[in-house]
């Protein structure tokens, strides 16, 4: 089954900035892989439940008690940019327009 892929849209959803040549190359490779992987569509799965988890498990809950967490300064020390106790990022409100 040939697969129709809007690769520029996929790259934008994935937040990976690719140029035209890269988009074309990845688009072609994805087409090949999906054509192979799309074989799963040939199987009759009527009434088959999807596997969400390999073992039968219910929610893992714990009691709501305060426990020590990671050292804030050690965590923030790994950030590309910080301001006091915060991660710092470029302005983003303009994006919303």
């Amino acid at each position: 089954m040939p697969v129709d892929i809007d690769i520029a849209k996929v790259a934008r959803l994935a937040r990976i900035g690719l140029d035209a040549e890269e988009l074309e190359r990845y688009g072609a490779q994805l087409g090949d892989i999906l054509e192979h992987a799309g074989r799963v569509q040939a199987l009759d799965t009527d009434g088959v439940p999807p596997t969400a988890h390999p073992l039968p498990m219910v929610n893992a809950l714990r009691s709501d008690e305060v426990e020590p967490s990671l050292e804030r300064d050690e965590v923030l020390a790994q950030a590309p940019e910080r301001e006091g106790p915060y991660f710092r990022v470029p302005a983003f409100l303009e994006d919303e327009a």
């Binding site: 990976i16 490779q29 073992l55 990671l70 790994q78």
Partner: protein, 492 residues
């Protein structure tokens, strides 16, 4: 005389306790081996020499006081670099995590330390564990100790090469579709993937969360049991961690195969399988039969679709897990006028081609309009694969197959063709879809002198029978060859 670096954990432990050697001696032996082999192999990204020396000294002092932490006490062990280590650089072989010093230790790291193991360093892998050759590392490939022109397999290629050559006694790897078992096979060692949830994944940099599992790479089956026992068991920090008891894997280890029913998987043979691999597989099955096992032919019809399902499920989960690498909290950040531009530039420069390909693939197959046809359908196929396995285990105690269709291939042979590379995991990834344990044991060398792996698969929580059959395979096959690079002649 056998060099200390070639001993099993069991034998090193005996000599340690008899006072014949010290933990410092064992560390010195693996360091010498690393010095001899690293320039050619590149198994390690980081060698944590100072901390290892202190830990070895502490291990010797503890033993002198009569404080024995068990079979891993004083044993040098390596970690795949996708397991976080507090304050020690952890990159998962990605440029996007260059320089990252995690603020905590993975649970497996804490458990190995508590068991007295000496952590010697962090091993190379395919970036974020995505690959089957360790060629996808941003820091250069690892090579195979049996032939440096060939790949060690992957993605735990650094761990496999290190244990094979003797620059560690054991290593941890992670296995999402075969990433412990396939490199173990290609490097002539034992590699084991536990039942999903038996080993905590807290602190494992996630690739595909419903498939990932940490496990040991060792030179013997008994050593695999030892490391498995040290790392398995419930962890409240991992919500997917199994809450029942860890099965007793040591009691029946030497039980042999007499009276066991062992299934040969029909689908794992034929086109794409090397003649030497198939021939040795049949030889070992014959040995098992000779030792009293009943051999049964088993068909798992849906595994023909397992590879396809895997390459929809794993990239989908990877695209979600790797969303966290966005230049905000850790790792690389490239400049951008807006947050979105900063993220797009960071992720473009930070991820290599295979990771980019899988993120795009997963993003596509999860996106609106395609979910049911791809990801949803793959999850149903996964159920069919698990049902095929369950039906097989009604008839047999364990299944066997080759671990990989081929022995180690030359560097560059499959990098241009992602699908050809993916086929390298065709025998291993069904176990990840089913969540079941499986192990690869080296059984012979092919006509080019490259190791061949034999896989034993068992039902969920079937580790006792899996290890028992694996131990019998090891004893019957009698594989005891060592790679050229493990000897001074080979390195010269």
């Amino acid at each position: 005389m056998t060099d200390l670096a070639d001993l099993s954990i069991a034998e090193a432990g005996r000599r340690l306790r008899s006072g014949e050697v010290s933990a410092a001696d064992l560390l010195e032996a693996v360091r010498r081996r690393a010095t001899m082999s690293e320039a050619q192999l590149h198994a390690f990204l980081t060698l944590d020499t100072e901390a290892a020396a202190e830990a070895a000294e502490a291990a010797d002092e503890a033993l002198a006081r009569g404080e024995d932490h068990g079979p891993l006490h004083g044993i040098p062990v390596a970690l795949k670099d996708n397991m976080v280590t507090r304050g020690v650089e952890t990159t998962a072989s990605s440029r996007i995590l260059a320089g990252y010093r995690p603020p905590y230790d993975a649970t497996v790291v804490e458990r190995l330390r508590a068991a007295g193991a000496i952590l010697v360093g962090k091993t190379n892998l395919d970036e974020f564990a995505m690959g089957s050759s360790t060629e996808n590392s941003a820091y250069g490939p690892t090579r195979n100790p049996w032939d440096p022109e060939r790949v060690p397999g992957g993605s735990s290629g650094g761990s496999a090469a290190s244990v094979s050559v003797g620059s560690s006694f054991a290593a941890l790897g992670s296995d999402t579709g075969g990433s412990i078992r396939q490199p173990a096979a290609l490097c002539g060692i034992v590699g084991m993937k536990p039942t999903y949830g038996l080993v905590s994944r807290y602190g494992l940099i996630a690739f595909a969360s419903s498939l990932d599992q940490i496990g040991p790479l060792t030179r013997t089956v008994e050593d695999s049991v030892t490391v498995f026992e040290a790392i398995a068991g419930h962890d409240p920090a991992d919500a997917t961690s199994y809450r029942g008891d860890v099965p007793d894997v040591r009691a029946a280890l030497e039980g042999g195969v007499e009276g066991l029913r062992i299934g040969v998987v029909q689908e794992f043979s034929g086109e794409g399988y090397e003649a030497d691999v198939e021939e040795d597989f049949r030889r070992v099955v014959g040995l098992l039969e000779g030792a009293g096992a009943e051999i049964v032919e088993i068909s798992l019809p849906s595994v023909e679709y397992a590879l396809s399902a895997y390459y929809l499920i794993a990239p989908a989960e990877c695209s979600a897990n790797l969303a966290r690498f966005d230049g905000v909290r850790y790792g690389l950040r490239e400049e951008g006028a807006s947050v979105e531009q900063m993220m797009a530039a960071t992720r473009r420069d930070g991820f290599g081609p295979e990771v980019t390909r899988r993120i795009l693939l997963g993003t596509y197959s999860l996106s609106a309009g395609y979910y049911d046809a791809f990801y949803g359908q793959a999850q149903k196929v996964r159920t069919l694969v698990a049902r095929d396995f369950a039906a097989a285990y009604e008839r047999v105690d364990a299944l066997v197959s080759p671990t990989s269709p081929t022995t180690a291939f030359p560097l560059g042979a499959k990098t241009a063709d992602p699908l050809a590379m993916y086929l390298s995991d065709v025998c291993t990834l069904p176990s990840n879809l089913a969540g079941d344990p499986a192990i690869s044991v080296p059984t012979a060398l092919d006509r080019s002198g490259l190791p061949i792996g034999f896989q034993v698969l068992a039902p969920t929580l079937g580790e006792p029978v899996m290890f028992r059959v694996a131990r019998a395979v090891e004893a019957l096959a009698g594989f005891d060859a060592r790679p050229g690079l493990a000897t001074s002649e080979g390195a010269a």
